[in-house]
Point group: C2
Chain length 179, copies 2
């Protein structure tokens, strides 16, 4: 999560938090120039990468969840599509080129203020460990380290994947509420 806004990014003025006229939520508003600075959920994009019946996971070399295993995924960037972002994150984290498959899941992660969008993909060539990864490995269904999966949304997507052995039976739309 980003730190709370204290200064206006447009004019440098002091920020107050209040509900603007015609709105129903507290926003960061500049006392000097009046600019309203909104904060909204962000999109995380990633790939469930399959190769010979196994799924590729990356062991994280960064916080949060250092040392836990994750589906390659990260923040979508301006100028790219969700699928392009998912492929880029897979290249960055797992040094892996993939053939993109269908949209697989959209998971709202309320506490994080994020929407996690996963695509299916097939490994196309080698793989390795990017700068945010300690190790990348392929796991068969019965080898998945379920207790050491980094994020609940990734665990959900993997569970849905193996429920039907990778068949894209539907888009899986899910919300993870704060516990």
């Amino acid at each position: 999560m980003t730190s709370p806004m204290k200064f206006c990014s447009t004019c440098g003025g002091a920020i107050s938090y209040r509900v603007p006229d015609g709105d129903n939520r507290e926003r960061a508003i500049c006392d000097d120039c009046g600019t309203i600075h909104y904060r909204n959920p962000l999109v995380v994009v990633g790939c469930i990468v399959e190769h010979e019946g196994k799924i590729m996971l990356c062991k994280r070399s960064i916080e949060p969840r250092y040392g836990y295993w994750t589906i390659p995924a990260g923040f979508m960037e301006l100028g790219e599509s969700t699928a392009e972002g998912a492929a880029r994150e897979t290249l960055e984290e797992a040094c892996a080129q993939v053939d993109m498959g269908p949209f697989f899941a959209s998971v709202d992660v309320i506490r994080a203020g994020q929407v996690h969008i996963y695509f299916l993909a097939k490994l196309n060539g080698d793989f390795g460990a990017g700068s945010e990864t300690l190790e990348t490995r392929l796991f068969a269904k019965d080898e998945i380290p379920w207790d050491d999966i980094a994020f609940a949304s990734g665990k959900y997507a993997l569970q849905k994947y193996f429920e039907k052995d990778g068949v894209q039976n539907a888009p899986h739309i899910h919300t993870i509420y704060p516990e």
Copy 2:
């Protein structure tokens, strides 16, 4: 689009644009405290609301696209799911309660830096015009004002809807690139 960041929202220091170490994109970085301020795509959520074979559209009372017709939709807020946000926007723009249906489309709108997520929904009661709406109306398939639809993503979603007469045959995943 938000205006470019000139001052650090954390400390008020001056912002420079450069590529941070280990990154590959130009970011807004504070010259004083070093905070990196990321900008990423935002999520827009909305409903294709059906009632007796007709679809509900709202005539916009605000820019951009004042006077054009739109599917009720708007920016997803922190603390809500995509479906909850879509229902909230429908209530705000069309004063309409709906019974939410399945996920229908996810459209990347590259130029806007947005992902537009649409759900199907059924009208449950009355409707009206919210503060961002001049008029709300139900349109049969052959009445849709195709030349006066506000946004390309909404037009895409409506086209997909009427292609199969509202049958949720698949999630429609689409990217609109800048022309």
